[in-house]
Symmetry: C2
Subunit: 366 residues, 2 copies
Amino acid sequence: MTPKDYMQMALDEARKGWGLTGTNPVVGALIVEDGQVVSLGFHAHFGGPHAEIEALKNLGRKPSADAVMYVTLEPCCSTGKTGPCTQAIIESGVRKVVLGAIDPDPRHQGRGVALLNDAGVETEVGVLEGACEDLNLIFNFSAQEGRPLFAAKTATTLDGKVSTRSGSSQWITGEEARRDVMRWRRYFPAIAVGSGTALADNPSLTSRLEDSVTCGTRFIFDRRLRTLGQIDTLKVYNDAFKSKTILVCGDETDVPKALESKGIRAWKLPLQSDVLWKRFREKCREESIHGVYFEGGPCLLSELLSNQELNYLFAYRAPKFLADSDAPAFVGGQMVDQMSDAYSLEKVQHGTFSDDQLTRGFINYS
Amino acid sequence: MTPKDYMQMALDEARKGWGLTGTNPVVGALIVEDGQVVSLGFHAHFGGPHAEIEALKNLGRKPSADAVMYVTLEPCCSTGKTGPCTQAIIESGVRKVVLGAIDPDPRHQGRGVALLNDAGVETEVGVLEGACEDLNLIFNFSAQEGRPLFAAKTATTLDGKVSTRSGSSQWITGEEARRDVMRWRRYFPAIAVGSGTALADNPSLTSRLEDSVTCGTRFIFDRRLRTLGQIDTLKVYNDAFKSKTILVCGDETDVPKALESKGIRAWKLPLQSDVLWKRFREKCREESIHGVYFEGGPCLLSELLSNQELNYLFAYRAPKFLADSDAPAFVGGQMVDQMSDAYSLEKVQHGTFSDDQLTRGFINYS
């Protein structure tokens, strides 16, 4: 077993907290003594013990003199809902900590490592760093940028189409890719669609996986209240999770009582798109919603892109094509003259789901 | 080591003959005694000894009683340029043969296995079958269909664009993906572009890899002889491989002497596209060109697609997008109403080249 193997196990452990840690990062830790993994731990829910503490607790005894801790993220050095992990590690007697990624929060960045080193604990930083960073897309972005991450999901043909000329779109990708979407729905605290998608597909926007059905905040962007004509049939307004639905409409709109009586909130925001998105992002931040997963159609995505308000793209592709210029593309509205000026993705990750593929990454506007 | 591990080694061995076997398949073989690989062999050139014979010869002695031969393709049972491999295996004393793929040629299919079994040689068929089949895309198609394989390569953005609205296209994909294209150029006996690509990019269409530069037959589709205006500057008409270039033009075209004096041939074919492609394919078959790699632009590809004459697609994609409906897509000209009627790929294979991805497969017209 190499350090990478141990870190891979810590990553697998971390993923047990996928979608459960709220605004906290997903973290896994393990303790190795004499080459053997003797204890594992992960951060299981917001406010609960951190992964390092769990691993120490699960060991149930003092670590041996040669014990090494592997942890996917730099241990915290401040007291939040729980005490600082650095202190617990130092007190435990562990003399070496191997880290995946440094805490990206400018207030913590590297301080945990420094505290450990000051106390004589050896550290090694950056084992499987990319994968450890990738585990916390939302947490990292929000810590670094001080604002929520806006991500869009698209499922297209090889020629980038989201439907045929007549609007036929089900299904482009296969079951495995759609299951991956369910995993990302669970990861994001909120999901958003436009009124067009809400009316055309009547989606539930829940995350349906083998073990359970969960639901984050559901935003319906509907400036002209078009969806209210279907207020009694749309799932998002009527299912068991309806209190998680928020209608986003214009700030001069009269929201009907019917919505309120269902326990559904409305966010009234300015209609001008340059202001709308900034205000929406601000309001998400105020409500500690640090990531929104947009599953909207081309209109919503193009508007986000035009305003440079889309930070991340999940692009699923099926091995098929339409060869039809009248079929709508997943995003549009731009005029680009040079290939070097194309929108490019950064920190690109790939996935393969049976015959479908996923490319995802941060959108670079520079 | 499992049978799959041994077959994987046989596959790696087979790839040493990549692009060198002419109309013969790429094949690798190895002999295992008491769990140890004691000999390897591959088919190195058209007319040369087959992989099984090479492996037996490289052993330099009689195989032991427990020897097992692994071979990526069913051994041949007929006398061609060399004697039948089945006979050589039987005479060698090898008592068990593990096969990847069955010979797809309807005249041979399964006969090699039957002959081995009749002689008391045990066979196991289908280990890493998909990968073993995939190794011989051209050979398999041409053996089964009795006609050459027409494949197209595209390099696009995530929205399926091959250039910006102003024609800017270099580069979409990165170096690693472009190196993969070089490998496929080596695999295919011929490459084809339209006059537009020839004039715009002045490509050499050679395969440039670390060890060498090679060149297959180069077809320039130029019905109106547009490229002849650049006859002294285009690489395909002037480089060291110019005798490998064939101009494809209308059957009523007067081909200028200048071309002939450079030693460049012309194929004069009917201009109507439904007839042209059938005639072109026939002529390729007559000249034992069993695969053509089209690197043409959207016009050439769309025409091939419209005539259902494109069999295979290599779709490279870079993690970028233009979001510009005026940028040209890799293929067009169709009207598709239902998503279930999209052109789909079969026997899909994926590749990742740094941040770029490849999806490839056979186009299903049914």
